[in-house]
């Protein structure tokens, strides 16, 4: 069953919910093409947080009084919403973190440190965001485990043929891979990786920062062991993200950070830990942000994640076609919309990406330039930086047209 993408009427209705889209820059309306970096926020999400603060705010898990009960209920309902979004078998498997980065560090500093040692192998890939790469470098250094990176071909497709050689180097304990590259939009073959990893007795950590926002993500169907995402890329507020982990794995782990909330009983000599998921949530959590994330999830589900996925696919297809019209422009990564999400990196002759982004900004077109927190990938591709345009449920063809017009002006200004 294919879901139809958003209609122009849907798009207009959705866009009206995002107050920032009313902003003008240099006399032109904003064309925000940097959703892979962070999403903009619908009014419904902002209202949910403000109204929570204005009526029910109290610290969670603590007060016997009405406000404390309401606040705790709202916070735990947000956990249920995340569990449902990811089709998690249990709400106990959902741990709130600040962002994807903290979620991945949590895995490295609990599961990783408690399970890896010399003779063990950790596998990551050259595609990864620094958040899914540096924590494994640190883990390997701390534990004496070997760290290996899967390579890509020149279009960014992950090469799995090195896996068997890697398995001969030691006990593969953990495989960390992205669900979608934030720089190229390419989607690695996660099912194959999971099958291979599980055959080795390794766990799979999936960085889903780029996919939870825009398509249905089902941890049971994916059969991964840990999964991380960020609220701020998912129409939610900054300051909140989540780690999902299999209960059977989480249950055995020692905690991450310690303090209030995550304890069962504290004595000067000895402390025991709370049950899941609270064992991994030390101190006052970002509970108002959880309420905001809940509203964001409700918003996404009301629009429909299949429809958002279809829209991103259609708009990416349109963008690839239009960008091909710009002389000297080279798309980095997969050349067709089929193999990728709504993220397009490119270079334009030898114009520096920062100059491109700055000139586009004068057209009120917001794109990113740089290494996108994927320095090893950029280096592997023989580049210093790219320009990246990324799309979401608010992106229109008219915005793509303005990107293209802006790029033609870049050529003029830079004299190429």
């Amino acid at each position: 069953m294919t879901v139809s993408p958003l209609t122009p009427t849907d798009l207009a209705r959705i866009r009206a919910d995002f107050p920032i889209l009313a902003r003008e820059l240099h006399g032109q309306p904003l064309a925000y093409l940097d959703s892979a970096s962070t999403s903009q926020k619908p009014q419904q999400m902002l209202d949910a947080m403000t109204s929570f603060y204005s009526t029910s705010n109290a610290n969670v898990h603590r007060g016997v009084y009405t406000l404390g009960v309401e606040s705790t209920d709202a916070f735990e309902a947000a956990r249920d919403a995340v569990a449902a979004l990811l089709n998690a078998p249990s709400r106990r498997e959902v741990i709130f973190t600040r962002n994807t980065t903290e979620a991945l560090n949590l895995v490295a500093k609990t599961y990783g440190v408690q399970n890896c040692g010399p003779g063990d192998v950790i596998v990551s890939t050259v595609l990864e965001h620094h958040a899914n790469l540096v924590p494994w470098q640190v883990l390997a250094e701390q534990t004496g485990a070997t760290l290996r990176f899967l390579d890509i071909d020149d279009e960014g497709n992950l090469q799995l043929d090195a896996l068997d050689a890697i398995a001969r180097e030691g006990n593969v304990k953990l495989v960390a891979v992205t669900h979608q590259s934030n720089t190229l939009g390419v989607r690695p073959p996660v099912a194959e990786i999971v099958a291979w990893a599980h055959a080795q007795g390794a766990v799979v950590v999936l960085d889903a920062a780029q996919t939870v926002p825009n398509r249905p993500v089902d941890v049971q169907a994916l059969d991964v062991d840990f999964l991380a995402f960020s609220g701020h890329k998912t129409l939610g507020p900054t300051g909140i993200g989540a780690l999902w982990g299999r209960e059977s794995l989480l249950a055995d782990l020692q905690p991450f950070l310690t303090g209030g909330e995550m304890i069962r009983s504290v004595k000067l000599e000895r402390t025991s830990w709370n049950a899941l998921p609270w064992k991994f949530e030390a101190g006052t959590p970002a509970y108002a942000e959880a309420v905001g994330l809940h509203a964001a999830i409700d918003y996404l589900q009301a629009v429909g994640l299949e429809a958002i996925d279809a829209h991103e696919h259609a708009i990416t297809d349109y963008a690839l076609g239009r960008l091909a019209e710009v002389p000297g422009l080279r798309i980095i990564g997969p050349q067709t919309a089929a193999a990728r999400g709504g993220v397009v990196s490119f270079v334009l002759d030898d114009v520096h990406p920062h100059d491109i982004a700055e000139i586009l900004d004068r057209h009120a077109v917001c794109v990113r330039a740089g290494h996108h927190c994927t320095q090893p990938l950029i280096e592997r591709l023989g580049l210093a930086a790219t320009v990246r345009a990324s799309f979401y449920l608010t992106t229109t063809e008219a915005e793509i047209d303005r990107l293209v017009a802006g790029l033609l002006d870049v050529r003029r200004v830079m004299g190429v």
Partner: protein, 139 residues
Amino acid sequence: MDDLYRENLMDHYQHPRHHGPMAECDAEAEGQNPLCGDQVIVQVKLTDGTIEEMRFTGHGCAISQAATSMLTELVQGLTVDEAAALPSQAILDELAIPLSAMRVKCAVLGLGTLKLALHRSAGTPLPAEWGDTDEMVWS
């Protein structure tokens, strides 16, 4: 206020039934609610698979202590299987006051501890739904 701490509840709190230790018993367990600091120790005397008497000791808030006192009357004469199957709602109905999620834990502390004692003495595993009460401490 009176819908909160009804006369019956206060009567059980101030004059707990079947309170104080039993010299010899057939089943025993202790439960704690770390949030409130509530504690109950439950002891049961069985005759032919039937609860002859349940007694308790402990301390804590009015809800936890009154609910456990009510429970001692509720289960008298029930078979072990009947008592082990008693739903939480049974004790909430006895209390007959509105309770927040946080205070429900106080209310069912005695019942959970009784179930633990019965299952332990029968050697049967705790039913799966008790996995959700893991904010409590059983021993």
